[in-house]
Amino acid sequence: MKNWVAALFLVMVGLIIPAVAQNSQLPLPSPVEKELAAKASNVTEVTLGKNMLAFAAKFMNGKGEDDAATRRLIEGLDGIYVRDYEFDKEGQYSTDDIQKLRSYFETSDWSPIVRERDKKSGESTDVMMKIVNGETHGMFILDVEPKELSIVLILGPVKMEDLSKLGGIGGLSVLGDIEKESNKDKAKDKTKDKTKKDGDE
């Protein structure tokens, strides 16, 4: 009886938490993030809702192209959720922690675009896109390095063409490669399976 109740509880939790990420509202921090933050030597957390993004856009009224491009990018977005954890030494997090993070954000609305794993260095990159009626409604990036871990969640209509123009903020033109990779991965099913298998290890 107790096992049955516990199982039901876990299922409900399992349904509720990812459900938060399903809608356009920003998620609550996952339990794993709190653990990572406790161990990190440097933590950067940015949580900006729709209203705050609109407010910030008002102050991007400089004459420079960067201001204009950034404003175009964030206008219309529903939120930005970014976490960056830097550690003094390696081994402060486990693969299990990474999997928990992926599971927390990955729901049926999200399509994996990139799953890159490097077994030697332990580095990995996950990129997911939320596609609704053929339009992009969100982007998720999980960038893992031995001593740094970054989570990026952008909700809303992400304009790829505007992202690609943000050269002044360090070459976001690389985002154009994501679309290429997405098409490349779809064509090569075998390559995708291999990558996924590597990621599971």
Partner: protein, 122 residues
């Protein structure tokens, strides 16, 4: 009828009756002495009005000063609000840039790894 001053010599053709009538009229129109209390009342009223004027003047300046102060407080509050909004806006802007910087770095890392994998595959 001649209306020049009375001391001028009368015209020969003016009737004595006219002259007599005008003399009577002038006598009838002699200035009447003012009531004895008139001056006292004038001076009293004058003193009262002057006091009221000073009080009104003072009150006017007080009201003006209060209005200026109120406008200053409101303007100051408005300015502070504008400064505060600006500060918050700049803070939000910096957060956006930080988020995009981290995003960019993550994507750069991804790109680097993808490039490395492509090289290995070749």
């Amino acid at each position: 009828m001649d209306f020049e001053r009375a001391e001028q010599p009368e015209q020969p053709n003016r009737s004595e009756q006219d002259g007599e009538f005008e003399r009577e009229l002038k006598q009838a129109m002699e200035r009447r002495p003012a009531p004895p209390s008139l001056k006292r009342r004038i001076l009293q009223k004058r003193s009262t009005l002057r006091t009221e004027r000073v009080q009104s003047y003072t009150m006017w300046w007080q009201r003006l000063a209060a209005s200026v102060l109120l406008v200053g407080v409101i303007a100051g509050g408005y300015s502070w609000r504008q400064v505060e909004d600006r500060r918050k806006g700049e803070e939000a802007k910096q957060q956006v840039l930080t988020a995009l910087r981290i995003t960019n770095r993550a994507l750069n890392d991804m790109n680097r790894r993808l490039a490395a994998r492509n090289r290995e595959e070749k």
